[in-house]
């Protein structure tokens, strides 16, 4: 999204804020200012893979994400503004800003609506967020695909006795972010991130639509959704840049995706399933993530819990669709929750490709240091990467990230 477009949104938002403020003045209304800032250091111990790539052994960056919340009356109307900015010392494309959220939320008895720029999460599994599709992934932010760009949206949910039905109109598409040509985690070829092509003649102006029904039946939580619009995953066309360098050019297809989310919660067991059928990339395909999480509570009479996670990842797509890392893989993980005053926790996971045995591992830990400070660490590394493997482009980009965040 271009800067002027953003500014325009902000102007309208401030105007809406002013108007609502005047109208709501007699009612209780308060502006809460919060958010966080963070200092982050990534350590890349290995040599680089490509000529011209910066080594960036120690790569610091800073993040600022303030949050302005204006609650009107008893909370039936809320205005939220969450800008986001990162300055990275090595990756010019990772230095970026975004409007993570700029919404007006209205809650009525049997319906609610969200208008603006927002973030919507769908799904139940841990190793892959297959069904989650409303927001574009902010790839430069994190390796787990959980960082998202703000999506312009109009959402209406109707709450009935037989579940919640949500309709989504999504005007304006956000292109995926990619690491810079000379940066770590960039992949086998430079990506022409600003030069994407589209299936739709409307390009990034295509208005996408989605519908989701969700409900709880006793121990079972279920979600069914349909999405029609621009795929959040780009395909990569190999092209030659003006200077003769072979590069990837992202291409976004129009897709139709039907999806199912299912969770059965039974004692210490959580059984999870996500499944999609997608058409529009070429050949239609189906993909699934299925697995469980089992928690051992209060280990050895301590307050600590250990959760054991296992998921199988299947993806039936062929080369006519964007490349996936999870075609036939097994994920295993462990979650340690210390249940202490500092909310300390550790999550460790490994994903192994069943055929090539290509492996990626992750380790995440966090702990509160004070009422304002929190420390987080993340370690990601790759093993047994074949030459044509999913991670061959980034196999030397194992890294340790340490983040010190201050909340205000």
């Amino acid at each position: 999204m271009v800067l002027s477009n953003h500014l325009h949104h902000i102007q309208r938002f401030v105007l809406a804020l002013a108007i609502t403020g005047v109208v709501a003045a007699p009612a209780a209304a308060e502006l809460e200012i919060g958010g966080s800032s963070a200092l982050e250091i990534r350590v890349f111990p290995n040599k680089t893979s490509y000529a011209g790539q910066r080594r960036a052994t120690l790569s610091p960056s800073i993040v600022l994400e303030p949050e302005f919340i204006y609650v009107i009356g008893q909370g039936d109307d809320t205005l939220t503004l969450t800008p986001f900015m990162r300055l990275d010392s090595h990756d010019e494309r990772r230095s970026h800003y975004d409007i993570r959220e700029m919404t007006w939320v209205h809650l009525a008895d049997n319906w609610d609506t969200t208008i603006g720029i927002g973030k919507i999460f769908w799904g139940v599994t841990e190793s892959r967020h297959l069904v989650d599709i409303i927001n574009q992934t902010d790839t430069v932010e994190g390796a787990d695909g959980e960082d998202k760009l703000g999506q312009p949206l109009f959402n209406l949910n109707i709450i009935t006795d037989w579940g919640t039905v949500g309709g989504y109109v999504l005007p304006g598409f956000r292109e995926r972010t990619f690491a810079d040509d000379d940066a770590r985690l960039r992949g086998p070829k430079p990506i022409q991130a600003d030069d994407a092509t589209y299936d739709s003649s409307a390009g990034n102006k295509h208005v996408d639509l989605a519908l989701r029904w969700s409900h709880t039946f006793g121990d079972v939580d279920i979600g069914l959704s349909q999405f029609y619009g621009t795929s959040r995953e780009p395909g990569m066309k190999s092209v030659t840049r003006f200077d003769g360098v072979a590069v990837f050019q992202p291409h976004y297809d129009i897709i139709n995706q039907s999806a199912l989310e299912l969770q059965l919660t039974s004692g210490p067991w959580l059984w999870k399933l996500e499944s999609i059928v997608r058409r529009g990339h070429g050949k239609d395909f189906m993909a699934s993530v299925a697995g469980f999480e089992y928690t051992f509570y209060q280990i050895a009479e301590s307050p600590m819990d250990i959760g054991v996670l296992a998921e199988y990842l299947y993806d039936g797509r062929d080369s006519s669709a964007p490349v996936t890392l999870a075609d036939d893989d097994i994920f295993m993980g462990a979650r340690l929750v210390f249940n202490d005053v500092e909310d300390s926790s550790i999550l460790a996971g490994v994903v192994v490709d069943k055929n090539s045995r290509e492996t990626s591992m992750s380790f995440e830990a966090e702990r509160r240091l004070s009422d304002q400070l929190k420390i987080q660490a993340e370690l990601r590394w790759f093993a047994r990467v074949p030459d044509n493997g999913s991670f061959s482009g980034i196999k030397n980009d194992d890294f340790l990230m340490i983040r010190l965040a201050r909340f205000f």
């Binding site: 809320t78 008895d109 509570y297 500092e342």
Partner: protein, 268 residues
């Protein structure tokens, strides 16, 4: 559910009177214990919904204290076979601000619980098998904080005795639901208003684990008593947790639909 509060109050008052006279005739200690528990429940019926803010002061054995702040909304379920619904939204410390916890209390079945994580905008259905686990690192277990439902326990009246300036029933209760961390609890209930004054919790080895003292009771709508202070002391670790409630608001029109997993992500 659709009965007017006034009518409900009247009905419960009549039932309270009827039961009070019956209580003297109770035969066995078990029957007497059960009737006292039913009294507590009856006197709280018809509150509809309530809202409050609370501070949690967690103190370790060295006397160091950390603070949590949260908002709590409760919706009464008039169906006696299921419990109340509650919604907790964290305000402080800031790194967990906006985290929300939704719980549908059951009698003997596991509760339904969802957690909303604001950073991911993700609502997770979570296991409620962890009844005896600590709630946000405090000395309160999940099972200590869910709404009181008569059917969760077996009862046994032990004796009557003075409790501070009041006269109390002393009743033992034995959890009937699965995964409790307790073999039994000894509860002191004042005879005047049937308010729980003190609870001793005995762990799975039947040793005294914790003591809860509830005080600063306030009465709302001329019927419903709420303690504005709850102090839980863990005798085995030396840690303690104090809950300090702001004044409650009752029948503020909290809606059933506010207590749905899908709404968790929209509630501030």
């Amino acid at each position: 559910m659709k009965t007017t509060p006034v009518l409900k109050t009247l009905v419960s008052t009549l039932v309270v009177i009827a039961f009070s006279s019956h209580l003297a005739n109770a035969a066995s200690p078990e029957e007497k214990g059960l009737e006292i528990a039913q009294q507590i429940d009856l006197r709280d019926q018809g509150f509809g919904d309530s809202r409050t803010k609370l501070e949690m002061h967690l103190t370790n054995r060295h006397g160091e204290t950390s603070i949590r702040k949260m908002r709590l909304a409760t919706l009464e379920n008039s169906d006696p076979t299921v419990g109340d619904k509650s919604l907790t939204v964290f305000i402080f410390p800031r790194d967990i601000k906006g985290t929300a916890f939704l719980s549908f209390t059951k009698i003997l079945d596991p509760d339904d619980q969802w957690l909303y994580l604001p950073a991911l905008k993700r609502v997770k259905r979570i296991s409620s098998a962890n009844k005896s686990g600590p709630f946000v690192g405090s000395e309160f277990a999940y099972e200590d904080l869910v709404s009181f439902e008569v059917g969760k326990y077996d009862y046994k009246w032990l004796r009557d005795e003075a409790c501070g300036e009041l006269q109390c029933f002393v009743v033992e209760r034995f959890p009937k639901y699965e995964n409790s961390g307790y073999t039994r609890q000894t509860v002191w209930i004042d005879k005047a208003e049937y308010r729980i004054q003190k609870v001793d919790f005995y762990d799975r080895k039947d040793s005294l684990l914790k003591t809860l003292v509830q005080s600063n009771y306030e009465q709302y709508l001329a019927q419903y008593w709420r303690p504005l202070k709850m102090v839980m002391v863990n005798h085995q670790t030396g840690k303690s947790t104090e809950l300090v409630f702001s004044s409650y608001e009752f029948q503020v029109g909290v809606k059933d639909n506010d207590f749905t997993p899908n709404r968790l992500k929209l509630i501030r």
